[in-house]
Each structure stands twice: as structure tokens, then as C-alpha cells.
Subunit: 236 residues, 2 copies
DNA sequence: CAGTGGTCTAGACCACCGA
DNA sequence: CGGTGGTCTAGACCACTGG
């Protein structure tokens, strides 16, 4: 039975997907029930169930117990924003990534940082400021505070070899994160270090990461607008 | 057996998740095999399989046939960027959404637009320019070209009642999309319509949507940087 | 009520991996 | 080779929906 290279449930999924993509079935239309698929494909109900359940997980169809399976309103096409190591990202483009280190210190947390990291005001925190360059051109100004509890070795890292993101990913596997992206003008220091004029707009990403029980780090990432864009793909 | 409110496979998932979140099992560590879970929880293999398979789909664990299930390197935490109707978004914040219509026309496609929509240069395209306001304050300048083949009725829409995004979602269910986000300074018209100075940075999202066989629309969405940010959450 | 999906079981065969 | 995951089946009981 299962000598097929393509599993039965995948065939069913593909078949349903096709009907939806071609517009044979429009949003709100019913999709054949599990028992209908059993007969049509000569499969067991568990197999039909798996196909429809996975399509529902992808958001292509909606299932309501007792009512049936319907083609979903195709609203929530979504893309993945992924937290990646910038070194890896640059290397993938076949370019050279280098880092300029501006600051690597231990400080007392100010109120804002303490709050973000879930520490008392004045608690010890690690602070790094780096500039990331792609083929020698600055592309990211990274101002980051790190919770010592999450990455005790942080300050001993050679940041010319290992980026903060990579160190954190390796030592404090992240379980949660939030971000916000805004357009801002750089302050004087940021403009100077990025080699741009004060009036040149930048993408600023504020990111807070959590690893297990600890808030691990808060970072302010400044990208020169003219040299960087966030791009992505949505797939149904 | 299944009188439990929480399904068995969910209990197994929660149990595994907990061990990973608490750090009992670190990235690379083996997760109990399906047969181990069968014994431990007194469940059948299909149930254990489902639990682990779904965790793998979420990216929490990695499964290799013949080798076993291991805790994944928690790198690719990802978030969902969702295409939403701006009216809905504003309404959800409990605010009032209004629209100012600047242009609703039919034009011949210039080379760039034709290319994006997959049409011949000079083909007829719909063009709308709107300003979206939240409680009377401009928050988005929307310059959009639409492929007539994907939404023939587009121009007949009352854009004070139905946003372009909503019309398109309803009439041309989207199957694919790509976007890029940059920081830019607004041009003179955009600045005037958004009520900001020329030097104030903006988030600009270029978005191209595909519906079935047709490229449906390309849009340039300009957000005043000081009034708008894109925010999101990553979840493992 | 009949039909639907939600869950579960106890088997089964297979392909793959590592020792 | 034994253990692993990948898939599949033929049944089962349940909760829910709709007419």
C-alpha cells in the first residue's frame, strides 16, 4: 500500500490545495468530508483526517466539529520573520562580515533597561555596542543589554569572531521574543558610526528576547534605510 | 479513555515542552522515543507519534528516521507577519478609521508597474491613492495599482466604506505575496497628505500580491515613522 | 436524528540509522 | 541487527452541529 513515494495524506492535501488554488472551491465552500475522502481515495479515516487536519493547521481550511470542513477566508497569509545571526546572513550573500567594537562593559541598569530585563534598578547588566559591516560598509548599529543570569560568559566573547546574537542563541536558547520596527532618524553617534548624515532615515528594530525563565537581552538595532530592507514572502 | 478534557497528545506535548523550556533537555539532547512515551503515558504509538510530529512541525524538536527525536537548536524562532485590512486593525484598537480619496483612475501601465503585475507595458491598470486616518490623524498613504483581471470591479468600490485591501481579500483571495520594508523620507505629496515634514522618516512597505494565476496588485504603503510601528511576537 | 470532526487504539509494514 | 520514526488501517467512542 505505502510503497508510493508520496504518502497518501500528502496526495489528498495536494488535491485539496489544487482545487482551492484554482478557484474550484471558493472561501466558505465545503471541502469533502473525511468519509467522502475515504471512499474517493480508498484510504482510512485516520489518513483523511490527517490530511484535513494539517491543511487546517496551515490555515487553508477551517474545521468545525459537527459542521464540516470549509475553505478558509484567505486572510491570514503570513510570512516568517526569523531571528538570524547577522554574520550568517551576510555570509550567505557571499559577502564579508566584520565588526567594529565600540563598547563592551558591565553597568548598572537604568530604569528602562532594568524593567525590560526584569531586574532591579541598579542591577548589574552587560552592555555592548557594535557596528556590523558588510564588505566594509556599516549596515547595523547594535546597542545591546544582556541579562548576566542568561549568559554569564557574554563579556568574554570575542565579538570580532562571534556576534552577540550567535552567542546568545548558543548559550541561551530563546523561547520567546518580541520586536517592534520603526523609522527613525539616527542620533549623532549612530550617524557617525554608520557613516550617514543625520537626516538620513533608518530602520530601528527594538528586540527583546526571553530564554526560559529569564529575559535574556534587549537590543536596539539601527539599519541605514538606504542600505537595508526587510524583505519576505508570504505563502498560503 | 478520552473523557479527559485535555487530549492525551496535548498532555504529552505539554510535558515535552516543559522539559525543554525549563532547560532539563538542552538543544541536541534526545527526547524520549515514541515507544518510551507509549509506556510512560499508557498511550498507543499513533498518539505518541502525533505529539512528537506536531512538536517537530512547530520546530521545537527535530526528528530523523532511524536516529531519533532531539531537541532542536532553538534558532528559528519566527513570528507571523499578517496581511490585514487596515480598517479592521484600527477598529480593533477601538478607534475610528476614515479614508481620504486622492485618486481613483484607470491608467496605462508604466514599465515598472507592468513588470510587477505581469502585464504588457501600456496595458490598462487601476490606480488608487488613498490616505487612511485613525481618529482623524493620517497614518498610511496608500498608492496602489491593481490588475483588472484579478479584480474587475475594483474601481466601483466605495473606498470610504471598503478598503482596497478588504476588496481584494474578498474578490481575489490571495495565494502568495512578497514585501519589503524600508525607511525612507516622504516625497512632497506624501509629506503634505500625511501632515508631516519632509525630513520626518517613514516606514515604507512595498507589497506585491498574487491571487491564483494573476499578480493582483502592487502597493506602496507609507507610514509616518513617529506614529506607526510594526510590532510582533516570536513564539517557539 | 444523521453526519461531522476529535480522539484513540492495537496492530502492521516499511525505510532508515547506528552499532 | 535492533531501535527509530513514517505511514497506514479498521475499527471505536465521543461531542458537536444541523435540520
Amino acid at each position: 500500500m505505502q510503497k508510493d513515494v508520496v504518502p497518501a495524506y500528502e496526495q489528498v492535501k495536494a488535491w485539496v490545495r489544487q482545487h482551492i488554488a484554482r478557484g474550484d472551491w471558493k472561501p466558505g465552500d465545503p471541502v469533502p468530508s473525511e468519509s467522502a475522502l475515504m471512499e474517493q481515495f480508498g484510504i482510512s479515516r485516520m489518513t483523511a483526517n490527517r490530511a484535513l487536519r494539517e491543511l487546517a493547521a496551515e490555515g487553508l481550511v477551517t474545521r468545525v466539529q459537527g459542521s464540516g470542513t470549509k475553505v478558509a477566508q484567505l486572510h491570514r497569509i503570513s510570512s516568517q520573520l526569523v531571528i538570524r545571526d547577522i554574520h550568517e546572513e551576510v555570509a550567505e550573500r557571499g559577502h564579508v562580515h566584520t565588526t567594529r567594537i565600540l563598547e563592551v562593559t558591565e553597568e548598572k541598569a537604568g530604569p528602562a533597561v532594568a524593567e525590560s530585563l526584569g531586574l532591579r534598578k541598579g542591577a548589574r547588566v552587560f552592555h555592548t555596542i557594535l557596528v556590523h559591516m558588510e564588505n566594509g560598509v556599516p549596515i547595523q548599529y547594535e546597542d545591546r543589554y544582556v541579562n548576566p543570569a542568561a549568559a554569564p560568559d557574554y563579556l568574554n566573547t570575542d565579538f570580532t569572531q562571534t556576534s552577540p546574537t550567535l552567542h546568545l542563541l548558543q548559550h541561551a536558547p530563546l523561547t520567546e521574543a518580541s520586536y517592534s520596527i520603526e523609522a527613525c532618524l539616527p542620533n549623532e553617534v549612530e550617524a557617525r558610526e554608520l557613516g550617514i548624515r543625520r537626516g538620513e532615515p533608518c530602520l530601528v528594530m527594538m528586540r527583546r528576547t526571553v530564554s526560559g525563565a529569564h529575559a535574556a537581552s534587549v537590543a536596539r538595532l539601527v539599519y541605514p534605510g538606504a542600505r537595508y530592507s526587510i524583505a519576505g514572502q508570504f505563502q498560503a
